[in-house]
C-alpha cells in the first residue's frame, strides 16, 4: 500500500516513536517525500531538544553525579510485585546491562583471526538514561537486525546456600549476622538464576532502509551483514533475609557479564557506528564516550526516572548506591569475577554496613 497524500504532522510524530498504525507504509512514503523528511527531521529535533531539557529533571531525581541499579526499593512496599521485580534485579548489573549492551560492542581482545572479540566485565560504571531513552534504543535496535534468546528472569528456589554454591563458579557473598538490622532473620531464602544469553544478528539491508528512512548520512559499515553481537548474562544467587512487616534485605551475587562479537567487523568500528545511528539518544552516546570500555568497565544503564543514587566505594571497589527517600537503598559493585548487590528496605547506612561486611 502507498500513501497518496502526505500524512499530517501528528502521524509523523507517532511515526518517530513507532506508535503509528502502519510503519512500513509510512516509512516508504517518508523515504520518497522530501517534505515529509523535512517535517520528520524537524519533529525529531524538537523531540530531542525537549528530551534533553526534561532530562535535567531526571538529574534531580538522580541526585548528584550519576548512579546505580534500577531503584526497585520503591516497589518494596508493593508485596504483589516485589519478589518478581527484585528477582529481575538479582541478575545484578547484568539485567540492566541489556539496554546498553544493545548499543555497545565493548572493545576486547581479538582472537581467532579477528572473528571473535570478547569483553569481560571487571568493574561497573553508571550511565543514565530515561525509560523513554531505553524504549527508543530498543526500537532502534529492532531496525538493525534480529534478536534471539532472552535473558532469564525466573529464579529457582534452592534449599540452602551450600546447594547454590554447588551450581556457580563464584563465591556467594553472605552477610554477617551481626550486620543485619534488628528483627531480620539470619537464615535466608535462597534462589538461583541460570546463565542466559541474547544474540543480535545485524541485517545490512534492514539497517540501510532504516538509515534512509531517517535521512541519516551514517553509512552502513562494510561487513555488518550477519555480524553477531552475543551478550552473555551471568548466573546469579539471591539470598533474601526477611525482617518485620514487609522489610527485606537481599544479597545478590552474580558472575561477570560477557559480550562477544562474531564476524568480520572491527569492534571499535561497530561501536562507533551503533552510537551514531539516529534514534540513539545523544545524552547516552556522550556518556558512553567517556567510559573506557577497553579496561573492562561495564556501563550500567540507569533509568533515572525511576532511580536516584550516587557513586560510592565498597571495600575499595567503585560502587553505585541507590537511595529512595524513606523506602530503601541498594548498592552494587564488581570485584574479581563477581557482581555483588545488596538491596533492602532499610537506610543506606544499614545497606552499606552489610555490603562492607560481606563474607566471601
Amino acid at each position: 500500500m502507498t500513501l497518496m497524500t502526505c500524512p499530517d504532522e501528528g502521524t509523523l510524530r507517532a511515526f518517530l516513536d513507532r506508535a503509528d498504525d502502519d510503519h512500513a507504509t509510512l516509512a516508504a512514503h517518508v523515504r520518497g517525500c522530501l517534505d515529509c523528511r523535512r517535517t520528520v527531521r524537524t519533529l525529531r529535533l524538537n523531540a530531542d531538544s525537549v528530551s534533553s531539557a526534561l532530562a535535567l529533571l531526571d538529574d534531580e531525581i538522580a541526585v548528584p553525579v550519576v548512579a546505580g541499579v534500577p531503584d526497585r526499593s520503591s516497589e518494596a512496599i508493593d508485596p504483589p510485585v516485589r519478589k518478581r521485580r527484585w528477582g529481575r534485579l538479582a541478575t545484578g548489573a547484568a539485567a540492566v546491562a541489556l539496554t546498553v549492551g544493545l548499543v555497545v560492542t565493548p572493545a576486547g581482545q581479538a582472537v581467532a583471526g579477528g572473528f571473535l572479540n570478547l569483553f569481560h566485565s571487571r568493574s561497573v560504571a553508571a550511565v543514565t538514561l530515561t525509560s523513554s531513552d531505553a524504549s527508543q534504543v530498543a526500537g532502534v535496535m529492532s531496525q538493525l537486525g534480529v534478536t534471539a534468546g532472552t535473558p532469564s528472569t525466573d529464579f529457582a528456589t534452592l534449599s540452602s546456600v551450600a546447594e547454590a554454591q554447588g551450581k556457580v563458579a563464584f563465591q556467594i557473598a553472605t552477610p554477617r549476622a551481626s550486620d543485619l538490622p534488628a528483627g531480620v532473620a539470619s537464615t535466608p531464602s535462597v534462589r538461583y538464576l541460570p546463565k542466559s544469553s541474547l544474540t543480535v544478528t545485524f541485517d545490512a539491508a534492514k539497517t540501510a532502509a532504516y538509515l534512509q528512512s531517517t535521512n541519516s548520512k551514517v553509512q552502513v559499515p562494510a561487513g555488518l551483514d550477519g555480524e553477531k553481537l552475543v551478550l552473555n548474562f551471568p548466573d546469579a544467587v539471591a539470598l533474601t533475609y526477611s525482617g518485620s512487616g514487609q522489610n527485606e534485605i537481599m544479597v545478590v551475587s552474580a558472575g561477570a557479564f560477557e559480550a562477544s562479537t562474531v564476524g568480520p567487523l572491527d569492534v571499535a568500528g561497530l561501536r562507533d557506528f551503533l552510537v551514531n545511528v539516529p534514534g540513539v539518544p545523544t545524552s547516552l552516546t556522550s556518556q558512553l564516550g567517556s567510559v573506557d570500555l577497553t579496561s573492562g568497565v561495564l556501563p550500567v544503564p540507569i533509568p533515572v526516572d525511576q532511580v536516584s543514587g550516587t557513586k560510592t566505594t565498597v571495600n575499595g571497589h567503585d560502587a553505585i548506591l541507590v537511595v529512595s527517600s524513606g523506602l530503601g537503598a541498594g548498592v552494587v559493585w564488581q570485584s574479581t569475577n563477581r557482581i555483588t548487590g545488596v538491596i533492602g528496605s532499610y537506610s543506606s547506612d544499614a545497606v552499606l554496613k552489610i555490603a562492607k561486611g560481606l563474607n566471601g
Binding site: A47, I61, P64, S74, P80, T130, D305
Partner: protein
C-alpha cells in the same frame, strides 16, 4: 448527578498500591520527594470521593496521573514552597556546588517553561518522557490515541520556543535551519 457506588476497599487499595510507585516517579520531576509523597497522597484522598471510581481501573489510574501532575504543578507555583523544598531536600553535598547551582537554575527554568504550557501539552511531554505509551497518554489526557502525535508535536514545538526564549543558547541558533537537508 448520582454519586458513584462505593468501591470495594480491596480494589481501591490494590489500585493505589500498583499506581503509587509510578505516580511518585512522575511527580518527582515537578516537586521534591517529600512533596511528591504529599501530592500522591492528596490525589488518593480525592480519588475516594470522585465519580471516576465507577470507571474501569485503567481510567482510574489515568485520572490519578492527571490529578497528581496538576496537584504537583499547583504546589510548584508556590514560591515559598520552592524555597522550603531546597531546605528540606535530603541531598548529599554536591561535589561541585557552583555547577550544581547552575543546574538547579536550569531545572527551575524547565519547570517554569512546562508550567507556561497548556495542561494537556505539559502533561503529554512529561508522560512521554517518562516512557508512557501513546495509549496511556491518550487515556490520561482523555483524548483519542490518534491525537497523541499531534498533541506531542505541538507541545514539543511550544516547549522548545518557550525554552529558547527563557534560556537562549548560541549553539541552538542553527536549529531553526536544521530541517534543511544537507
Amino acid at each position: 448527578m448520582a454519586s458513584a457506588a462505593p468501591m470495594p476497599p480491596l480494589r481501591l487499595e490494590s489500585i493505589m498500591r500498583s499506581a503509587r510507585s509510578s505516580l511518585l516517579a512522575l511527580v518527582r520531576r515537578v516537586v521534591d520527594h517529600a512533596e511528591a509523597e504529599d501530592v500522591v497522597q492528596e490525589a488518593f484522598v480525592r480519588l475516594t470521593n470522585d465519580p471516576v471510581l465507577a470507571r474501569p481501573d485503567g481510567e482510574i489510574t489515568a485520572w490519578l496521573r492527571r490529578t497528581s501532575l496538576n496537584l504537583a504543578f499547583n504546589r510548584a507555583r508556590d514560591v515559598g514552597r520552592w524555597r522550603a523544598r531546597t531546605e528540606r531536600a535530603e541531598m548529599p553535598e554536591p561535589a561541585d556546588p557552583a555547577a550544581e547551582a547552575i543546574r538547579s537554575e536550569e531545572r527551575a527554568t524547565v519547570r517554569a517553561v512546562l508550567d507556561e504550557l497548556p495542561e494537556k501539552q505539559r502533561t503529554s511531554l512529561l508522560l512521554r518522557h517518562a516512557g508512557y505509551s501513546y495509549l496511556e497518554i491518550a487515556a490520561t489526557l482523555d483524548i483519542a490515541p490518534g491525537s497523541v502525535g499531534t498533541t506531542l508535536a505541538r507541545a514539543e514545538r511550544a516547549f522548545k520556543d518557550h525554552y529558547l526564549q527563557a534560556h537562549p543558547r548560541p549553539d541552538q541558533e542553527n536549529d531553526n535551519d536544521a530541517d534543511d537537508l544537507s
